[in-house]
């Protein structure tokens, strides 16, 4: 079954940070497509899908099914897409088959990776230097320092 559903992820607003977060989740840079104009998603047969849009399910950041098979399901995956809306926010397009792996827990971990990337970027813009990180009790502590001001 390859029916797609749309999952809004309002935290995601920046494609570059989303790509960095996907890399943190194990995907290689060359496995992540980024398109200014949303491109067609394909099912496990290689057929274009039209579940969320009669003109075709399209996304701006795409993990093709070969990469999804390699890193998540190991089976007959479909493409996973992240579609950017007019307000800059993204929705994840995940097929019913892949939602067994790319589920809420996976989206939560991806959101945490996105937040880590965003915090490091925002801190650098404020003149902070990344000192280090440590993980404890399911949380990551990032420490930053800034001299003067």
């Amino acid at each position: 079954m390859s029916k797609y559903s749309t999952n809004p992820v309002p935290t995601f607003k920046d494609a570059a940070l989303l790509i960095a977060a996907l890399q943190e989740m194990g995907f290689e840079a060359n496995e992540i497509e980024h398109h200014a104009i949303a491109q067609q998603l394909f099912d496990y047969h290689g057929q274009p899908t039209k579940y969320t849009d009669r003109n075709g399910d399209k996304a701006n950041v795409i993990l093709r099914r070969t990469a999804v098979n390699r890193h998540l399901s190991g089976g007959a995956s479909n493409d996973i897409g992240f579609k950017q809306h007019g307000d800059g926010s993204f929705s994840a397009l995940i097929s019913q088959y892949d939602s067994a792996y790319a589920n809420n827990q996976w989206i939560g971990k991806l959101t945490a990776a996105y937040t880590r990337q965003s915090v490091i970027q925002k801190a650098a813009k404020q003149g902070f230097k990344f000192v280090g990180s440590r993980q404890e009790n399911g949380k990551t502590k990032l420490q930053f320092s800034r001299v003067g001001r």
Binding site: P10, T11, Q105, G108, K109, T111, A112, A113, Y114, T115, R116, S118, V119, K122, A123, K125, Q126, F128, V131, Q135, G138, K139, T140, K141, L142, Q143, F144, S145, R146, V147, G148, R149
Partner: protein, 64 residues
């Protein structure tokens, strides 16, 4: 001598919610730091430096 300011951000690995700890913040500018992080999403908690809380409470009293 220039002071060194420290900021710690704690991120929940399961959902990306985060808190900002400014207890090691020296000098001015913590408002800008809080604002910058709030652009990501609303922090679940902000631990302000003690003097910031004191000044903020004084300002509230003056407004009254």
């Amino acid at each position: 001598m220039a002071k060194t300011t420290f900021v710690t951000v704690e991120i929940d690995d399961s959902d990306g919610s985060f808190s900002v700890d400014l207890t090691g913040f020296e000098g001015k500018g913590c408002d800008a730091v809080i604002k910058a992080f709030a652009e990501i999403s609303e922090p679940s908690k902000v631990i302000e430096k003690p003097e910031y809380k004191f000044v903020a409470s004084q300002q509230k009293q003056i407004r009254k």
